[in-house]
Amino acid sequence: MKRKKITALLAVFAMTVSLAAGCGNAEKAGTVADNAAADNAESSVESNSDEAPEETGQETAGEENAPSGEAQAVTIWYYWETEGHQVALDQVIQDYNGSQDSYEVTAKYVPFADFKKQLSIGASADELPDIAILDSPDHASYVEMGIFEDLTGKFDVGSYYEGTVNSCTVDGKLYGVPFGVNCLALYYNEDMLNEAGCSVPTTWEELMTTAKALTTDSVTGLALCSVQNEEGTFNFVPWLWSTGATSYDINNENGIRALSFIQSLIEEEVMSKECINWTQGDVMNQFISGNVAMMENGPWQIPTMQQEAPDLNWKVTLIPKDSEYSSVLGGENYAVINGGNVEGALDFLNYATSEEKVKFLMDKFGYISADKSIAENQFEADSPYQPFVEELNYAMPRGPLAEWPGVSDAISLAFNQVITGTATPEDAAAEAQATIDGIVK
């Protein structure tokens, strides 16, 4: 009796749920309950069947490839929120769609803070785009995840900067195409520098003296984004590398010297502790508001700076060195998702990486072409971008390493510890080294 009753209840309430959930589509909602109930019952099985790779490919391809005769869909995910970037990319896509009939490309904006998560979840659920334009240090992790198509031999990357090609190469195979590059350099407020009677710093010592001279009640000498994540690491590694230390070998004289130098900037109050909450964009805002006299930042800020503060008199120079000049390579790579519309993706990439399109995109983005032959003639000699092209010669990539997020976390933590004064440079270096050794065996 009891069982009967419950079975009847189940039926009734399955219907209730369908009605409630379906929003007019009872049939679909019915499946909701069924499917999910099945999932629930067999969740252990389910969690294994998620990963069947062959199924993955067919399903995605089947969904996205329209029947013959119509243009096949190719989707792109990217994370640039600047409108200028979005418009420029869209322009190239429109041109491409107009130039042929086989493929229809659409691009979707996925916020940067959400990008990794969306790719991870998408990978678990087989719901991925055909092309992803992603941050270069993350490339190797996704290659390891096995979601990117091997592009070896499909693109000629011979004339590209070596570092950018390395960032999308794993075990000698090419898993992506560099979109564009950037690196960090030192911006300085020329008026403030002249007023203080300083010359442009080239070494750490000079940087310290200059920063001290520039610091007043309302102005701090230097700012660099020091948030505790990949963005912070991006801004820290030039200082680390300049001493001769590497990302994986920090607990030595060199690594400690880099940490001590950053610490001394805080102790001498020529850099604000607030930097640990400033993104690179925030640092730029501080700079153009005149609260900061020098900053470490990238070329993509230039269009905004020119627009928002047209009267500000600033220049760019190499990041001052300890023992050698050093900078870090940034930028995005295109990656083709395997199992998606690979032909369409390749066709679009061939179009978008043509010299004319690359020039157009780089111009609008404030990026430097990853293609050396294009980059060398990209700017006039007096362009504010030119110092970045020079800095590129000293720029190295982060990783490439599938476990880079772990290494990066250790590095940014160490720098944050010395900035906030929660650890001495020695202890911070030792702790970071222990973490890194646990990751890179």
């Binding site: 929003c23 499946t31 499917n35 999932d39 940067f112 979840i121 993104t279 690179q280």
Partner: protein, 282 residues
Amino acid sequence: MDEEKKLTKNKNILFGIISVIILCALLFPLYWAFITSLKTEQEIFLNPPTFYPHVLNTKSYAAQVETGDFNMFRSFANSFVISIGATFIAVLLAVPASYGIAKYHFKGRKVMLLSFLVTQMLPVSVLLTPMFIMFKNIHVYNTWIAAVLADATIGIPFSVLILKNYFSSIPKDLEEAAYLDGCNKFTAFIRILIPIAKPGVMVCAIFSFLYAWGDLAYGMTFILDQERRPITAGIFNFMGQYGTKWSYLTAFAVVTIIPVALIFIFMQKYIVSGMTSGAVKG
């Protein structure tokens, strides 16, 4: 209510003043957000800060509407549809459930109550991937329905736990009187108990709505197209690697808050009177 003696005139004024001071203190952050949204970026960085915008800057509001990809009005409508849907499901399911739990001591009652509680405890990192897979399988991924279904899971247990107290505070005699009048369990529930618990139902509806309105993680993860995303997702348009634009962010905040606040200020007469007049006489 008439028996209640009114406060003296002086006390009335004094309490009025105190209440306004409390109001100002608690709402100061909102005022600050509002004036910040009307300042230029340069003025925001001024030291000492200005307590009203010296140069009025409405650019940050214009930008909310103009930017091609992100349209404030559309995402506002999206949020509204999603929140209403989630509220509807939550109230529809939670009202009977809380009644059942409050009035019937069936076997497994405690377990059910506990399981409602448990569902409230999951951090988003646990829910996102499995829900995503489910929504994809039932083909609602990237639609409002996905966000509605997910948001309702916040409202239901909350409502059950709150409403349960309402129903248990309703004396049994009322229900029994209804049976004498020829009601059965269901008609008694609908005719007698729901009207009495109406203020509680209202509170649950409001809270369910607000949970859905404030949700960020679900809307962001289960809906990919900008055109269908809720308004909270817009926050990422102004916060990211290109810098925190305080004027834009605060303008966004104001636009997100004002309409909801208005709705509730207009509805609050009903809500509060419902709350106070719905008292159950012992």
